[in-house]
């Protein structure tokens, strides 16, 4: 099974590097986040980027963006380019095809997030040097490593589930974008609702924030993400039916 997953990963990686017309897109896709999160943000925020929770932005948004660009291609792309039938007619097990595709998208996004965390750390040290090397605390580093992996897996699980059902890559991209943006919008609306609907909302929100234990919140968020990741992967595996895919 591991060998089969590695085989699918080999093909996905090759395709990723050589996708027609994507060289410019790939360079831009790499440059934009590097400039924004690796250079601009460290310049603006300075040492607070390393000392505060700002680095979490990289761990949340970079995996979302990177996986969001790649994973819609996974099955919808094979379907669109008429390569899915031949792949399904091969001896590869369902799990190998699915996990191989997910693993490449997650690996790429995770690597990208970690690289940006490192670039921004170097940038902060270079531009805001005060005589000693500034590092992420072990807890921040650990949270970033885990959070970026969990976020990448979350979007990959959701994206592959959507891609399995989509006739076109464009359709899969649009559905995935809606599916990932909707919870974010909802998350922004909850505090606003609290402020406007609940009596003394502002005071209550302040109390809530003051009473919150950041470590506990992060642990809860990560546990929820882990459960969601596993659930989505299981759902994708259950959805992966050769008979259904060959007919779509």
């Amino acid at each position: 099974m591991i060998n089969d997953i590695l085989t699918v990963m080999w093909k996905e990686r090759k395709g990723l590097l050589r996708y027609q017309g994507s060289r410019t897109r790939a360079v831009l896709g790499l440059l934009i986040p590097v400039v924004m999160l690796g250079i601009y943000l460290p310049l603006q925020i300075g040492r607070a980027l390393v000392e505060g929770p700002w680095s979490l932005l990289t761990s949340v948004f970079i995996p979302m963006m990177s996986v969001g660009m790649m994973i819609p291609e996974s099955f919808a792309g094979e379907r669109e380019r008429h390569t899915l039938g031949t792949l399904l007619a091969s001896r590869l097990p369902d799990e190998a095809i699915l996990f191989g595709k997910v693993a490449v998208a997650v690996g790429y996004a995770w690597g990208m997030a970690l690289m940006l965390l490192l670039v921004s750390l170097v940038m902060v040290n270079v531009t805001h040097w005060d005589g000693q090397v500034l590092l992420y605390t072990p807890i921040t580093a650990l949270v970033n490593v885990a959070l970026s992996l969990l976020m990448a897996s979350l979007v990959a699980g959701l994206g592959v589930l959507i891609s399995l059902r989509s006739a076109t890559v464009q359709g899969a991209q649009q559905t995935l974008m809606t599916a990932t943006l909707f919870p974010l919008v909802l998350l922004q609306m909850i505090p606003l609702l609290l402020l406007n609907v609940v009596p003394n909302g502002r005071a209550r929100l302040k109390e809530l924030v003051a009473a919150a234990n950041p470590t506990q919140i992060i642990l809860i968020v990560m546990a929820v993400l882990l459960v969601l990741d596993l659930g989505l992967l299981m759902a994708a595996l259950a959805r992966f039916k050769r008979a259904r895919l060959i007919l779509n």
């Binding site: 008429h82 390569t83 039938g85 792949l87 007619a89 091969s90 050769r242």
Partner: protein, 310 residues
């Protein structure tokens, strides 16, 4: 390998209200090119998908290389090669990488992969272009590459779904030549669907004709031709007037007679002696330049079978 490569028993597949395959029963002997002929929508591709275990039958069963397609589909797919409706090639990858990927899929060792890829691409005449992206290749070259992929892991059985469809005459001939020589050299059983009767006639040791999911006829192309009608006489020359045609139509051994493309075509009953007919024509004033004996083509047999079923 079993002596029968494929055994199909009363196989049926429904899609909601449509019956795509209807009680199909068939045996495909090992080691031959087996033509599976039928018009568009006859159920050819669905049959291939059922045989590969990609679809489950509504009823009936099929065995491929001794494995049940419903319960042992993994075993079937492990031992077969495919060139389906589309070449299924990764156009952003090179020809070599396409084969390298499927070589890895079939767990060939690196040395095996390298040697086999070189052997097949050299045979197909595209070894020098192996590093090029497949997307830049012509349709004919892509079909050749897809054929190489189907044969890569030396499967005992390959499924080819209209491999020459949409190719120009030169490319189709090249693919056909490769298929013929490689199939013979490697002793592989080929399950070939095609619209092209000349292709089936040239390549296939046995053919089956299906219509609306049901088997209409099966046998060697010669058998089908013999079954479809008696011999045919084609006479080239001058003087094919109405009197001559009327004279011919009174003869008991003549089934039909007519002028086609400036030659006289006469369909005869079986075991007819031709010489007296030629003498008769000469006596009636026909200037005979050439006489050809022939049989109905597979295409004519196919069309006749389609008409019979209506």
């Amino acid at each position: 390998m079993t002596e029968t490569a494929i055994r199909i028993e009363n196989l049926t597949r429904d899609f909601e209200t449509v019956r795509a395959v209807d009680g199909l029963s068939l045996e495909v002997p090992a080691g031959i090119i087996f033509g599976f002929l039928g018009p568009n929508g006859a159920g050819k591709t669905t049959t291939i998908n059922l045989l590969l275990g990609l679809l489950e039958p509504t009823s009936g069963r099929a065995e491929v290389l001794g494995f049940d397609t419903r319960t042992q589909s993994d075993e079937v797919r492990t031992r077969t090669g495919t060139l389906l409706e589309h070449p299924g090639l990764y156009e952003q990858l090179s020809a070599e990488d396409n084969l390298e990927f499927y070589g890895r899929v079939w767990r060939m060792t690196p040395a095996e992969r390298q040697a086999r890829i070189k052997e097949l691409l050299t045979h197909m005449g595209v070894w020098e272009r192996r590093k090029e992206r497949v997307g830049t290749w012509s349709k004919g070259m892509k079909q050749k590459l897809a054929l190489a992929r189907a044969l890569l892991h030396r499967p005992p059985l390959i499924f080819l779904d209209e491999p020459t469809a949409g190719l120009d005459v030169v490319a189709a001939t090249a693919v056909r030549d490769d298929l013929e020589t490689l199939a013979a050299r490697e002793g592989v059983t080929v399950f070939l669907t095609t619209h092209n009767m000349a292709e089936a006639e040239r390549l296939c040791g046995q053919v089956a004709v299906i219509r609306e999911g049901s088997l209409v006829a099966v046998g060697h192309p010669d058998e089908l031709r013999a079954r479809a009608g008696g011999p045919r006489l084609e006479i080239f020359g001058r003087g094919f007037n109405d009197n001559v045609l009327n004279l011919l139509r009174t003869r008991p051994e003549v089934v039909a007679a007519g002028v086609q493309n400036e030659h006289l075509a006469i369909d005869l009953r079986k075991d007819t002696d031709v010489a007296p007919l030629v003498s008769l024509l000469v006596g009636a004033g026909v200037q005979v330049e050439e006489v050809r004996r022939g049989k109905a083509s597979l295409e004519e047999v196919f069309l006749a079978l389609m008409e019979e079923e209506r």
